[in-house]
């Protein structure tokens, strides 16, 4: 006993660093702190790498290379019978017009192989551009105009610098003679880069230079719409029941545990449920936003229920008591007072749930929303794809130009998500109540 008493630190105060044990302990402390900070910095660096790599690859998707050619809208080719009827104009061979324009521009190119390469400078989608122009203004026929045509993806990649001149010719998508032509066009100021509106107004395409995300965006919109109208009311009603009315019994327990587990079920399993239930049993159309929306609704439901319950629980009991004390029924108290007060929180949770649904891919692959669909879907039962699936499809495509399209689509998707989450945060900030 006494020797311990003697050990007490009566000796006075050590200055910093004098005591070896203390110094070592402080060193450990500093290292530990640094370790924590490093972990956070690594995580943030990973995030930054991801974003930088996406933006770095994707910003050029919003730019498109065009080639200006003197197009001779020959009557002979486009409308030999001089009818000007839309059918004739639609069916006319605009490809020949473009080829003729290229031949005139480069008269020295003669061999078949070279000609094919030459024609390849212009995108296959350019035909559509000419057709639209002529249909809008049939007076063009018979005239010669300088016309901006979308360049092919290889030219586009070359102009954007993704294809280097220094690579040996056989490994290069753009061959030497093509470089000569492109250089010549550039010297004539016939090559421009423009904002790529088609990326936002077009459907999917096999040709990267004319592929757009409008179809996928519309598909996502329909899908989310279905998800919302199914999962929001049902989620809110479940939450109201579980928080306000449910008796404490086995069934309620089962429902509760079940919701928590459902929230953690892998999304792909919901996809299989969708296949089995909506496609095989209910015979709903494959690849349709209706089925996708229903599947995602089942998946989003737990998220919404959990958020809505938390929000309802946060409304203090005094509000309920006040309503009940005035002679309102329990349901009136809930629907007139508790629900309106908890609505901002519920909406915040719903937006977050929907933003998860917007980014979800795997279950939609299962129900067949991976088809190649050029048309913009016109309704919830039309075959469609959604943004994340479009990203998945493009990521799988071998063409170099799809890399930037994929990244571009990712940037669009991410900005939607940022927008939704910002809305959720604002909503929470605006209506946040401290009881």
């Amino acid at each position: 006993m006494t020797d311990i008493q003697n050990q007490t630190n009566k000796a006075g105060w050590p200055t910093n660093g004098a005591n070896k044990i203390l110094a070592k302990r402080h060193r450990t402390e500093r290292n530990f702190r640094r370790l924590g900070l490093t972990a956070i910095l690594i995580a943030m660096a990973l995030l930054a790498t991801l974003l930088v790599s996406i933006v770095g690859k994707g910003y050029s998707a919003f730019i498109q290379t065009t080639i200006t050619l003197d197009i001779n809208f020959e009557q002979e080719i486009l409308d030999p019978k001089d009818t000007r009827s839309p059918e004739t104009l639609k069916a006319a061979s605009y490809g020949s017009v473009i080829r003729n324009a290229l031949r005139t521009e480069f008269p020295e190119v003669k061999s078949r192989i070279e000609l094919r390469r030459l024609f390849g400078l212009i995108s296959k989608g350019a035909v559509q551009e000419l057709r639209n122009a002529v249909l809008a203004n049939p007076k063009l026929i018979g005239t010669t105009r300088a016309f901006e045509l979308t360049a092919s993806d290889d030219v586009d990649m070359f102009i954007k610098g993704y294809i280097s001149r220094d690579v040996v010719e056989q490994d290069r998508r753009i061959k030497n003679n093509e470089i000569v032509w492109i250089d010549r066009l550039q010297n004539q100021n016939a090559i421009q880069t423009r904002f790529n509106t088609r990326f936002f107004t077009g459907g999917d395409s096999r040709e990267p230079e004319v592929a757009g995300i409008l179809g996928a965006m519309v598909g996502s919109l329909y899908t989310l719409f279905i998800t919302f109208i199914i999962s929001f009311p049902i989620g809110v009603m479940s939450a109201i029941y579980l928080e306000e009315f449910a008796p404490k019994n086995k069934l309620t327990d089962v429902i509760e545990v079940n919701i928590n587990n459902l929230a953690a079920v892998p999304s792909i399993v919901f996809g299989l449920l969708g296949v089995a239930l909506f496609l095989n049993v209910a015979h709903l159309p494959r690849s349709a936003p209706l089925v996708g929306g229903l599947t995602l609704a089942l998946m989003t439901l737990p998220t919404i229920i959990i958020a809505a319950r938390a929000s309802i629980r946060a409304v203090p009991g005094s509000i309920r008591n006040a309503a009940l004390g005035l002679g309102a029924s329990k349901q009136q108290a809930v629907f007139h007072h508790v629900l309106p007060l908890s609505l901002p929180g519920i909406l915040t949770g719903t937006i977050i749930g929907l933003s998860q649904a917007l980014g979800e891919t795997a279950p939609l692959l299962m129900i067949g929303m991976v088809a190649f669909i050029v048309d913009i879907p016109g309704g919830v039962t039309d075959p469609a794809t959604v943004l994340p699936v479009q990203i998945f499809l493009w990521a799988d495509s071998p063409e170099r130009a799809f890399v930037e399209k994929t990244s571009g689509a990712i940037m669009v998707l991410l900005s939607f998500l940022v927008f939704m989450n910002a809305a959720a945060v604002l909503l929470r900030k605006k209506f946040e109540q401290r009881w």
Partner: protein, 413 residues
């Protein structure tokens, strides 16, 4: 299909019923001075309920009928389907509405009926999640049983060879492919393990730093930034893993003389770990926060530094919760699909080498079901068997994790 117009006309009828019911209740002289009668709109709702319930019952019957009678003689069934049910439904709605309107009188307790109906709807809504689970289990189970009729379960669970491709001709020997799922399980495990090696230390240390060291301002700025990682869609991670990380590891491998394939398990695992960091950090953040301040005070009061307090007091106290969080993260990694579909391989390699390509359960589910498929072939059924296995494993992990975390929370509440 006459479905949509039918619904619209039903809605219109109900709206009319609501309007008329409210009006009748309001205008009726005998209502004056009645205390318990309730407000007019309740009578409107009362009418609507009578306009909705009978057609709804018939609608369900219709659904069952049209599903079950598909194989029966098409002509009559089609006629019943197209004509009889819609007209029956319309009649039922009109009958219900008129009867309800006639019932409106001061003696009618509209509120009680309306509230009972609302209550039923609420219960129905909240049982939907249970039906979802039942639906998942049933749909997976039925197909899985069919699968095990074609392929013995011993082969599925214990055999080492996975090549579900069918032979071209039916009569060919071994036309059923090979369905040994062991390589898929090991592949899943390998990638999950890599993901955890990345995510657990980073997530846990970030969580600790956030709760124990970071200032309020630091937390307020950095936490949302880290949470962005959780909000990025998995398809984006998949693209990142396939195009950036995979290529990076391959190039590094070439540089230091290692043979790394570009679809290596390492790339998929690291990116998956990256996705899981915020999951672990925010969960462990919550859990560490729940350790009572009194324990920290006790430790600081004895002259312990923060790191000593964290290591000796907080982590041991929070251990069950942290284990629960890690289990949840593991379950998430096992069920993750897009990253592995895009960045891991399709070939079933039985290997523990992270530099090689492996495949996972989810990759195979996608591979077996996407594209042209014929139902009832062992190949598509195998996807359901895999999914059931996946579901069972993640369910177990989740249940254990939730129990552990709940126990832990009770301890400190």
């Amino acid at each position: 299909m006459s479905f949509l117009p039918l619904i619209i006309s039903l809605l219109a009828m109900c709206a009319a019923g609501y309007w008329y019911g409210s009006k009748k209740a309001l205008s009726s002289h005998s209502f004056a001075g009645q205390q318990n009668a309730g407000r007019p709109h309740l009578y409107g709702l009362y009418v609507v309920i009578w306009g909705v319930i009978p057609p709804a019952i018939l609608l369900i019957l219709w659904g069952v009928f049209s599903y079950s009678s598909i194989d029966v003689s098409g002509g009559i069934a089609g006629k019943i389907d197209k004509v009889v049910f819609p007209s029956l439904i319309t009649v039922a709605a009109i009958l219900g509405l008129t009867l309800a309107v006639r019932q409106i009188s001061p003696n009618l307790r509209a509120r009680k009926t309306v509230e009972a109906a609302v209550y039923c709807v609420l219960i129905l809504a909240s049982t939907l999640s249970v039906f979802t689970t039942i639906g998942i289990v049933l749909s997976l189970l039925i197909e899985t049983i069919q699968f095990f009729e074609k392929v013995p379960y011993q082969e599925f669970f214990f055999s080492l060879n996975w090549s579900p491709q069918m032979a071209l001709r039916e009569d060919q020997v071994g036309s059923s492919g090979a369905f040994g799922a062991i390589p898929l399980f090991t592949g899943t495990l390998l990638i999950t393990l890599i993901a955890m090696i990345v995510a657990v230390p980073l997530g846990l240390m970030s969580g600790i730093y956030m709760t124990e060291y970071a200032s309020k301002n630091f937390r307020a700025t950095v936490k949302p930034i880290l949470e962005i990682l959780a909000g990025i869609p998995t398809v984006v991670y998949g693209f990142f893993a396939a195009l950036t990380v995979g290529v990076f590891f391959r190039d590094v491998g070439t540089f230091i003389g290692l043979d790394v394939v570009s679809e290596s398990a390492l790339a998929a695992g690291v990116v998956m770990g990256m996705m899981i960091i915020p999951f672990i950090s925010s969960l462990s953040d919550d859990i560490i926060m729940a350790v009572p301040q009194s324990l920290r005070d006790a430790s600081y009061g004895l002259g312990a530094t923060k790191s000593e307090t964290v290591i000796n007091v907080i982590i041991p106290a929070a251990l069950p919760g942290i284990v629960g969080a890690i289990l949840l993260a593991v379950s998430r990694a096992i069920g993750e699909t897009m990253i592995v579909v895009m960045a891991a391989g399709f070939a079933a390699n039985l290997t523990a080498n992270p530099l090689e390509s492996v495949t996972t359960v989810t990759v195979q589910i996608v591979g077996l079901l996407v594209g042209d498929q014929e139902f009832d072939s062992a190949k598509t059924l195998a996807a359901f068997a895999l999914a059931l296995t996946l579901f069972a494993i993640t369910l177990c992990l989740n249940v254990i994790a939730l129990l552990v975390v709940r126990k832990y929370r009770e301890k400190y509440d």
